[in-house]
Symmetry: C2
Subunit: 282 residues, 2 copies
């Protein structure tokens, strides 16, 4: 498998990250994931914009010599993924320097690492839905930065997995914020609720497309966090993320949601999203 | 410089961290720092205990074949630090595996990386004190785990540095919790206040020794977070950490503390600590 590492296209086992890399010692970096639909990426411009925003928030400068369009197309070509579903992963760290909390001076060259991997959608989850658990949101208050400091997220996802669930929903101050690697949506009386953009959630590209598609379908959307204690009143629940698109939730903390099967609004949005993803090319 | 990496003692530039290391992609790891006083470590047993606790909290198993006593003494010997001050740094990550939030199954071998570096105490800070700034505590609620997910800490320390200060104090719910890489203490009417152990702070080894020494000196200590709005009533402020021991704070957010010079209680505790560190060997 060919990967991109600091300007070169290498076999992955040839990549050597320095133990001084601030990504390794401080989680001092950000990342992006994009889905490739065999001939195009969905939301390329939005992902690129979010990457630059994350970098700006942590004040890492994207090396001007690297063009995201070139890295993506070269990796797709070198790994012969032109006609397959694939995931593009990109990570940028501040670079390698003697361990010291403050940013290195003079500034150093960021570490840029990217991969493309053939991807098989989880059709069982897409069609039958997933089980989720709820957990207190103990994460930091800058979840809008897509940082690699993901320890709280992996611990939550692991808890979900051990409970036989596929995702963990976080609750902060009595409100559902997002999942460990997804945005979360609740349908109540025909209205879709999702947490507003803030430091409490990542501004998901799939989330934002889902909101737009709801509006096109005349499904009312309210960007308001769903109150955890109102869970019984949710008719449907679903999540969104880059790899899974729209995935129904059919149980929460062991209790069935929408009768234990994907809800009608969820299905309608999911199908609309699937069609949109295949033709959208921006 | 010789370092320890997964069982071997190598030149640092021979160490190659995999880009799949979960420390690099997820901040899925923990660390420790110990200070070497030329012939002994201070608080070796306490550091080892905290390391094992951090590992247990994130459920990484310390490889039984590695003995911390052996790693530390070999690194001191190989780097000829027997008669110098030095810092020992150890990082343990869950290891390298295909990127997936859940823990790898079957479980993988953790990555263990350790260094020793000659260390020159910052005598200006120790003697004249430092300036600090205060910032909202936006970090996660498991700061008791000494994890490598330090992005919030480095961003805070960088802000301090750019404000001409040497440390940032975090405030959560109107209470000082800790610094970006230190515990924080306030002296008011002869009583020392420091935040109690909880998920809001790291249980600092130096913090805990400082509390014991205060008690030996009959200085009253209250483990209670200092209220940020009472700052004007603080007669003295100091910080503690492994590398700096006890360091006076002489200004906060541009305002002088204890008349802009180290306070009397701080100095007394600092001198006691310095004597203790030279002879303590546990």
């Amino acid at each position: 498998m060919k990967v991109f590492f600091n300007g070169d296209y290498l076999e992955k086992d040839q990549v050597s990250v320095s133990p001084d890399d601030r990504g390794f010692v401080f989680a001092d970096g950000v990342y992006e994931v994009m889905r490739w639909y065999g001939d195009h990426f969905l939301g390329f411009a939005a992902h690129q914009k979010r990457l630059l925003r994350s970098l700006a928030e942590v004040r890492i400068e994207w090396p001007a010599a690297y063009k995201l369009e070139v890295i993506t197309s070269e990796l797709i070509r070198l790994n012969q993924l032109q006609k397959q579903d694939a995931l593009f992963y990109l990570q940028v760290t501040r670079g390698a320097a003697k361990r010291n909390h403050v940013f290195p001076l003079p500034s150093i060259i960021p570490t840029v690492y990217a991969t493309t991997t053939a991807f098989i959608p989880n059709s069982a989850a897409v069609e039958a839905g997933i089980a989720v658990i709820s957990l207190p949101d103990e994460r930091w208050l800058r979840c809008d930065i897509k940082s690699i400091a993901l320890l709280p997220n992996i611990l939550a996802k692991q808890k979900a997995s051990e409970a036989g669930a596929q995702e963990a929903f976080f609750i902060r101050n009595g409100i559902f914020t997002e999942g460990s690697h997804s945005n979360v949506f609740f349908v109540m009386n025909g209205v879709v609720y999702t947490h507003p953009e803030s430091g409490a959630i990542l501004s998901g590209i799939t989330r934002n497309i889902a909101i737009s598609l709801c509006r096109e379908l005349s499904i009312p959307v309210v960007e308001e966090g769903f109150i955890a204690s109102s869970l019984d009143m949710a008719d449907e629940i679903f999540i969104s993320n880059t790899s899974g698109e729209i995935i129904p939730v059919v149980s929460m903390d062991g209790q069935p949601v929408s009768g234990g099967k994907p809800g009608i609004v969820t299905k309608r949005l999911q199908e609309t999203f699937q069609r949109y993803a295949l033709i959208a090319n921006a």
